[in-house]
Symmetry: C2
Subunit: 217 residues, 2 copies
DNA sequence: CGCTATAATATTGTATACAGATTGAAACGG
DNA sequence: CCGTTTCAATCTGTATACAATATTATAGCG
């Protein structure tokens, strides 16, 4: 089965949760021994997870000094958004060149399902549906390296979900607007104008203006 | 000093060298114990390096099965080129919005130095000069995440250097053409047309047509 | 009282040890 | 002869041990 999880993976999730929940404050030393005691495991898998997190940019690693949490500042969030927007735009354009792999009907049904959830003010499934929507054209791009890269970049942001318990009156109109953009993406993909698709995905959908909400993706 | 290197780093270089030199064939299991014996160190740093390589995509990691070399197929090279081209184009556009950080004079002097090396058929410094040239506008972009990402992506390709001992009569005209493009990039940056810069960097300079040579970057 | 030097403590990087999983080969049955 | 089962050898994932380095606390001195 593919459901084997090593202790490293467990630690990985534990630490990202500690960081995104705010229990681990930014710019502070991470104590390996504390995590070991916490999870009742040895240092080996803890260090493996820390090194992976450091390599991904979640935390810093200073040789012979240890691991330190990093602040996910608004600037870094904007930076990552800009990169994701650029690469998703690229993926969308590539997907247009492989129409046999691009399932617009599937995208329409996903957008419809998202609409239903929004109308019912039920945002439970929003995250995974939105991810699936974007994944349609990302997978269709056929660029395996791009697919992997986008998945890694998005890991940074998803965590924020749990932080923002904004009121429904704020969230709802944002989600409505976003799914309108999803429909617009479908129309543009149908239209066949590559630069229009690129510009819209990059500069509109991932504009970053509502980055704090976009973290739902 | 910043010149501390852990054993992990040593192993990292050792394995990438083994792969790029062809001593480690593609799609074959990597024997941890062999590397330990080879370098006369323990498994801990070896595994650290292997996990980092796996995370970067150089090699595969199958839980409880081990690490396996991957083929850097022409398709993967093209994929990575397309991504680098897209992101460098983005960096160049961002740099145009921060003229105070973009040192065109430095870029001109680097391009001049590259020209000199090409004229003398001396390609020793070509790699680092070219890297420095691109790094001018990448750094000027101000997007730290983008800077890190591009550095990681380029690590994939630089290794190929040592593989290709193509004859001078093939290499020389390619390098000439490439540095012409560098000058063109400078002119376009001066011109101020962002979309022209983006399209040129992405679709011309990183077209991938001469990807096998572009690995000099 | 503040600063430097030195000793005690904590932490990192690496080595070694061990249990469980995987692989491969021999033994067995159809 | 081919497929299955069993068992030994190998390898991975994790735990523990230890030496080198960094940090903190203490003592000495101006």
């Amino acid at each position: 089965m593919a459901t084997y999880r090593s202790l490293k993976d467990l630690v990985y999730d534990h630490i990202t949760a500690e960081i995104s929940s705010g229990r681990l404050k930014p710019n502070v030393a991470i104590n390996e021994a504390a995590i070991c005691a916490d999870l009742e495991i040895s240092r080996t898998p803890v260090r493996e997870a820390l090194m992976q997190l450091a390599h991904e940019g979640y935390i810093d690693h200073i040789p012979r000094r240890g691991f330190f949490t990093r602040a996910l500042t608004p600037e870094r969030i904007r930076n990552i958004y800009a990169i994701i927007g650029d690469l998703e735009a690229m993926a969308a354009v590539l997907a247009m060149g492989r129409p046999e792999h691009l399932d617009l009907d599937k995208m329409r049904s996903l957008a419809t399902e998202i609409d239903r959830g929004i109308e019912a003010h039920n945002y439970e499934a929003y995250h995974s549906l939105q991810y699936a929507f974007h994944d349609q054209f990302i997978q269709a791009s056929g660029n395996e390296e791009l697919i992997r890269l986008l998945a890694n970049l998005k890991k940074f942001l998803v965590q924020l979900n749990y932080l923002r318990n904004t009121g429904d009156e704020v969230i709802h109109p944002v989600l409505v607007k976003m799914n309108h953009e999803h429909w617009q993406i479908i129309r543009l993909l149908e239209g066949g104008d590559r630069e229009a698709v690129r510009a819209f995905v990059r500069d509109v959908h991932w504009s970053g203006d509502y980055a704090p909400f976009h973290t739902f993706i």
